[in-house]
Symmetry: C2
Subunit: 205 residues, 2 copies
């Protein structure tokens, strides 16, 4: 039987991507689902809609609610929470390093470290020194990792992930795409997405 799988599209600046990234690995393991981590950039999609910042900044009532809702979610799942300032943080460097890490085997741990630094500790993840510190904590030599992150191949890999997300219908983060193309948007659809992946795999065998 083919193992159930799901694409996990997330963006380091995205608030609801934080609980999704911190929680998906044990939930997916328990469900028997393989997760393909796909960091991408929401910025180009937002720009195409005429937005120059997060919609949570453009629509203050929605933004106020989101911060409160996120705090409730983090409390429920025992995740520390601190609101990043400024919001959104610059996520380009982290996304490139994550793609380098995902090809090298330390990507998932790095992604969780970035989200924790940003949303549990309120640290500026756009700064190279912060990223270097996270890499060192993971036992990864920063200089070659950053060099790889800035290579043309990794830049292209990040652009490709963003393009694939758009092709799959993704318009926000986190999003989950099953093998049959079924799209789920939001941390609150994560369990449903995993269950879907299991169901379509069982049906196909």
């Amino acid at each position: 039987m083919r193992r159930p799988a799901i694409d996990f599209y997330f963006e380091f600046a995205s608030t609801y991507s934080y609980p999704a990234a911190m929680r998906i690995a044990p939930l997916a393991q328990a469900a028997g689902v393989s997760v393909r981590w796909r960091p991408f950039l929401l910025g180009p999609m937002f720009k195409a809609q005429g937005w120059d910042t997060s919609p949570f900044n453009l629509y203050p009532a929605k933004g106020r609610y989101m911060w409160r809702d996120l705090a409730r979610i983090c409390a429920r799942h025992d995740l520390a929470f601190r609101r990043p300032d400024p919001f959104p943080q610059s996520s380009l460097l982290a996304a490139r390093v994550a793609h380098a890490g995902l090809e090298a085997g330390w990507g998932e741990a790095f992604c969780r470290a970035v989200f924790a630094a940003e949303f549990a500790e309120g640290r500026p993840i756009g700064e190279e020194a912060v990223i270097e510190g996270l890499l060192q904590n993971l036992g990864v030599a920063p200089a070659p990792a950053l060099a790889r992150a800035r290579s043309d191949e990794i830049k292209a890999a990040l652009r490709a992930a963003t393009g694939e997300a758009e092709q799959a219908g993704v318009f926000g983060a986190p999003s989950f795409v099953a093998a049959d193309g079924e799209l789920f948007w939001g941390h609150d659809r994560m369990a449903e997405a995993l269950a879907w992946a299991v169901r379509i795999t069982a049906r196909a065998t």
Copy 2:
């Protein structure tokens, strides 16, 4: 002990308000929560944000996803689903009649009838003849109900509900507001909102 209570803000043109309105009564009863039904108008809020139609129309990828997500939700909860055309439907008349019905005692049943006509049968709820038929099915004489719905008092009551929603921080529908002001947005936060209402009431006694 004071009985837990929640304000249920919804809009007849709102897609996710449909499953919320169809499901809230038995869930609230099981939780021991009183629900105050508050039909309001999203249109003025959307206009204030510079939108002249639903954001699901303005942002096509988000709209495509919403229809699919709504179909999944309806399937899960055994609710018939048919996409209204055009979308959004004009909701002003239904909202006014609902306010008349809520003061007269047939409001909740009328609200469910409107949502079912719109989202299960795809009927044009902006048309007076459709509303008249729904009233007749409920054993309510249409002419006096429609006259009351068009009275200055009911027009003011609908404006007041919309104003109270905005004051409470509501920016979309459905929304739920607990007695302590805690706001929950979306059909997928309904159970959490009911649990919150129960918890704060238990804490206060």
